[in-house]
């Protein structure tokens, strides 16, 4: 069975609960004193909030009357005059003791355009976003020489928002791209270095004195034979770990088109031993925005694997 936008509308509605009623109530209350010119809903993904903005021209009438909005999950409110751009929150907004706010019209100027911004906390943010946005990234690349990952986002439903809002923005949507790095690490580590790791591991694991002596001699033999391995192994390993720090790894990443780079973290390795290990993947976090005007976005993440490999080889002096 093919799912259409209508099915996702019912999922979305079940998650937002009474929010559309709240929006409608605020809109009606504002309409009594403002000529509404537009309203925008913004999903602020990193903050876990949604922001409702209603812009309207103030008409005479709300002089000494207050309008109450008793909604306890309001995070913040702002009222701004658009022309000139002035924050009038303190003059016209008063918080209510049990949550929510009231709008007092006494000090507003007739004929001025104002924007009311209300931020609400969202519960079940992930589920809510998943009900309105389809997200997908390429799981892995098939080509060794071209390490490009496509990233894609699209709104599942547009009409449900157009009924209530002139604009909807889903801001800073996170996408996680797992960039494979294990091949470059493995092929950049010279056999001599790996032999040294094996020798040291065996040395640490044995209590047999003769075995320890044999391995010590083997280690010495290795070090003499390879000038590049004269540096202490722990120093090299520390430098190698550094390359996976976000501020270092990000220089090997480029993000194009509708997406932008945000952060990177060591990949969670579901198929390794339960100890902190070296990453086979680096998870790159990219972001994009979706709107009613642009309900779909696509991008490309490029991993500069040759530069990454060069850096590892330089660290290990294997070039």
């Amino acid at each position: 069975m093919i799912l259409l936008s209508k099915q996702f509308e019912s999922v979305f509605s079940s998650l937002v609960g009474k929010f559309p009623d709240i929006v409608y109530h605020i809109y009606r209350a504002m309409k009594s004193s403002f000529e509404i010119q537009g309203q925008e809903l913004m999903f602020l993904c990193p903050e876990g909030a949604q922001k409702l903005t209603i812009v309207g021209t103030y008409k005479k009438g709300l002089k000494d009357v207050t309008v109450k909005f008793p909604y306890p999950n309001i995070k913040s409110i702002k009222l701004r005059s658009i022309v000139p751009l002035v924050d009038v929150t303190n003059q016209a907004i008063r918080p209510l003791p049990r949550g929510g706010f009231e709008l007092v019209g006494g000090k507003l100027v007739d004929g001025n355009i104002y924007g009311l911004e209300i931020e609400f906390r969202i519960e079940n943010l992930r589920k809510l976003i998943d009900s309105i946005v389809h997200r997908k990234v390429l799981d892995e690349v098939p080509y060794e020489d071209r390490r490009e990952y496509w990233i894609h986002a699209q709104l599942k439903n547009v009409s449900v928002f157009k009924k209530l809002f002139s604009n909807v923005v889903v801001e800073d949507l996170d996408f996680f791209v797992d960039v494979g790095v294990y091949h470059e690490v493995k092929t950049s580590i010279p056999p001599v270095f790996r032999r040294e790791l094996e020798i040291i591991t065996k040395w640490l694991g044995t209590t047999d004195r003769e075995e320890k002596l044999r391995l010590s001699l083997a280690h010495l033999h290795l070090k003499r034979g390879s000038p590049s391995q004269r540096k202490h192994i722990m120093e090299l390993l520390n430098k190698l770990q550094d390359i996976f720090l976000p501020r270092k790894f990000q220089k090997f990443i480029e993000v194009h088109k509708d997406f932008r780079y945000h952060d990177c973290i060591r990949g969670v390795d579901y198929f390794s031993a339960p100890f902190p290990t070296w990453p086979k993947y680096m998870t790159v976090v990219t972001r994009t925005n979706l709107t009613l005007e642009n309900p779909a976005a696509d991008g490309i993440l490029v991993f500069k694997h040759k530069d990454f490999q060069t850096e590892i080889k330089q660290i290990l002096n294997s070039e």
Partner: protein, 381 residues
């Protein structure tokens, strides 16, 4: 069209081409339309989703027909099309009536195929009434790993050389002839004489880590009784042998999703949960070094596109002839299961004591030289 003739008459043809490209607006029999964006992925792992979209501006309603190979793809979701305006046929979707103009979104499921390297074609046709405006056709490569066993010895002899070194006389030859990464797990059967144990050097760490973690998670069940069942399931999950994870993927996914949801909504639980892991980590980290972990990491990468689960787990082989029975399980990076191979090998150990043979050592990748192969002076082989 009149404007085009005027330009051709008065200017060089190259300027006309630039004009058309820059404007990117088409006028066809009185209908103005502009294709803003078309996305069709060029590659995808078999068994995963393929999203697509079309964005356009038009002053008249358009129709869009999408052609796809039905033996490879199956449409799952279509966005912004009215039910009455959607026609599904063999190998095509026709969208005629949109909820709002200018956008069509789709998601297809791709099947896992016998061919690990399949190129297909997706065609999108846009038109108005009986006229076709644009035809966009693009190739899509659908790939997956395909692990083949190139040689399976009936017997592997384990020989003791001088200075306590061990060598094998044969290996299991493997090769990944697909383009995706194959994640291998070797799973012993119940009746196997030869068992697989955690690596010696790391066993103490693993035991200590899990012992602390499970104790802390059980404390969490008392502190948060409303989540006791879920945490209990999580404890069972982490107790499961890693090789069995591919079998229980759906249950695992559900447990993880539920835990994520609770962590998002209950900050106290999130902090306590994270603390359990931190305690286990700090309480056992003294038993392990970066060297151990890097070695495990390198040995788990059998070759490019072949990763081995628990590479440094060991076969515990008593002297004499001992039979190993088990299965070689392959998954891809999204844990879709692929081919499995039954294994039955006799380890003929000529060593007087128990041999602990790292799992990775019995594999050899065809056409690739292992790092330590053929090195006469190798001090540790």
């Amino acid at each position: 069209m009149f404007q085009c003739f005027y330009l051709m008459y008065n200017y060089d043809i190259e300027i006309l081409k630039i004009f058309i490209v820059v404007m990117d607006i088409h006028k066809w029999r009185g209908v103005m339309y502009k294709l803003k964006s078309v996305f069709i992925p060029n590659v995808a792992l078999q068994g995963t989703e393929l999203p697509m979209h079309v964005l356009w501006d038009s002053d008249k309603p358009l129709w869009i027909q999408v052609f796809y190979p039905p033996d490879v793809l199956e449409p799952r979701e279509v966005y912004n099309v009215k039910e009455s305006g959607l026609e599904i046929g063999p190998g095509y979707i026709l969208a005629k009536d949109f909820e709002t103009d200018g956008y069509l979104g789709m998601v297809f499921d791709s099947k896992i195929l016998d061919d690990p390297d399949k190129e297909i074609s997706i065609k999108i046709v846009l038109g108005e009434s009986k006229n076709v405006f644009s035809v966009i056709e693009r190739p899509v490569l659908l790939f997956r790993p395909l692990l083949v066993v190139t040689s399976m010895p009936k017997e592997i002899a384990i020989i003791q050389r001088k200075e306590g070194k061990i060598s094998l006389n044969d290996y299991i030859g493997i090769k990944n002839i697909g383009k995706g990464t194959a994640i291998l797990a070797i799973v012993p059967s119940e009746e196997s004489e030869v068992k697989i144990a955690p690596p010696e050097n790391l066993q103490e760490y693993i035991e200590q880590f899990f012992s602390i973690l499970i104790r802390k998670l059980n404390e969490l069940r008392t502190e948060f009784p409303q989540y006791s069942d879920l945490v209990g399931k999580f404890i069972e999950f982490i107790r499961s042998p890693m090789e069995k994870l591919a079998d229980t993927e759906n249950e695992v996914e559900e447990i993880i999703e539920n835990l994520k949801h609770i962590c998002e909504t209950d900050r106290d639980f999130l902090e306590a949960f994270a603390e359990a892991f931190a305690s286990a980590y700090f309480g056992s980290i003294y038993l392990i070094t970066d060297i151990h972990t890097l070695l495990e990491y390198l040995n788990s990468i059998v070759a490019n596109r072949i990763l081995l689960l628990n590479a440094m787990s060991v076969f515990e082989i008593m002297p004499g002839n001992r039979v190993f029975k088990g299965t070689l399980v392959t998954t891809d990076v999204t844990f879709n299961k692929h081919e499995t191979v039954n294994i039955e090998i006799i380890f003929n150990s000529k060593v007087d004591s128990v041999v602990k043979l790292p799992v990775y050592q019995i594999f050899k990748v065809d056409n690739l030289r292992n790092d330590l192969e053929g090195c006469e002076d190798d001090p540790i082989k």
